[in-house]
Homo-oligomer: 196 residues x 2
């Protein structure tokens, strides 16, 4: 779910790319930090200066995602749910848009490991906490903040799942907008007509 | 989130009650299966015939919850989101209604342990999978089934959090109904007026 870090010829970017390659080639379990550092032409010490463990090399993009999302929610001057949806659309444009193949690769690695799936779920949980806090900081009541945030996360997850699935040629941002309308219809009892 | 098992003078019920008491008195980490069996006046062998490990003694009610919820969703002849909400209200009436103190006790034990929190999240995830499958079996499209289910889970979690918090005297079933309406308003852009 978290975005790939921006691709730069620096140590962090090289280690993330090497980790992704090796996890795909050998599997997550079979890859060591030594392997990752060697593939990146760096040493283990450099790896551990930048990441806590090998899982981290898959999840460091989450920090950037949270920053962009929280900033967008804080800046968007609309009703709470619309602000969260706008935030996820900005994340889609700034982090995911041109990286479908990388995201698919990362996703299949995560799906191969219950440990990575749990980490992903926990990251999403802490993302939701940060978004709800950003809404409350704008004066939104606690219950509304929770419902708007969780509904935004539902929309993002469903849009993301569609986007990474094969055979669909739509942008993530458009899918988010479409599913946000669909969620509103479904929860207002208008869903019988939208059995898509 | 899962309900306590029905209170019966059988081995399962006695072991669950003993586990709950000991987790509260000594903490989850500090309690052993031997302790639980001894408190229930039974032996370890009996414990392991009924539960995989000590965590299971807190989570076996989840199976009953899932059965009631899936059955209610399958039987309720309304739009998908309304069916999921009706299912959670039936669960509230049949499992939680008279057990606020027990549920609070269980909840504080779960909040004390990241391991138990992860288990709870995973249980909720598999509950959502079962509910979405029940909707699809009624002919509901995949996206609508996902959105209706996830929105129902959001409503249930928010209602549950309010219900177990101190100082509120409302039934869980009423809270679910109230928050379902609020979620529909929030996602339809009507949330500015409901900053509760």
């Amino acid at each position: 779910m978290a975005g790939m870090a921006r691709w730069q010829p620096d140590a962090r970017g090289r280690l993330e790319a090497a980790a992704l390659e090796l996890f795909r080639e050998r599997g997550f379990e079979q890859t060591t930090v030594t392997d990752i550092a060697a593939r990146a032409g760096l040493d283990k010490r450099t790896f551990y200066r930048l990441f806590g463990d090998k899982r981290e090399a898959l999840f460091s993009g989450g920090t950037l995602l949270e920053e962009i999302l929280v900033k967008a929610v804080a800046e968007t001057d609309t009703a709470p749910f619309e602000a969260v949806v706008a935030g996820f659309r900005r994340v889609a444009d700034e982090i995911f848009a041109d990286r479908l193949e990388l995201v698919r690769m990362r996703q299949s690695i995560i799906e191969s490991s219950p440990e990575l799936q749990e980490r992903e779920l926990r990251k999403l949980g802490s993302l939701a906490v940060a978004v709800a806090a950003a809404l409350r900081a704008k004066g939104v009541g606690e219950t509304t903040a929770t419902l708007a945030t969780e509904s935004g996360v539902t929309v993002f997850r469903a849009a993301f799942a569609r986007w990474v699935a094969p055979g669909l040629d739509a942008s993530l941002s458009d899918l988010i907008a479409e599913l946000a309308s669909e969620l509103a219809a479904v929860t207002s009892g208008g869903s019988e007509t939208i059995a898509s």
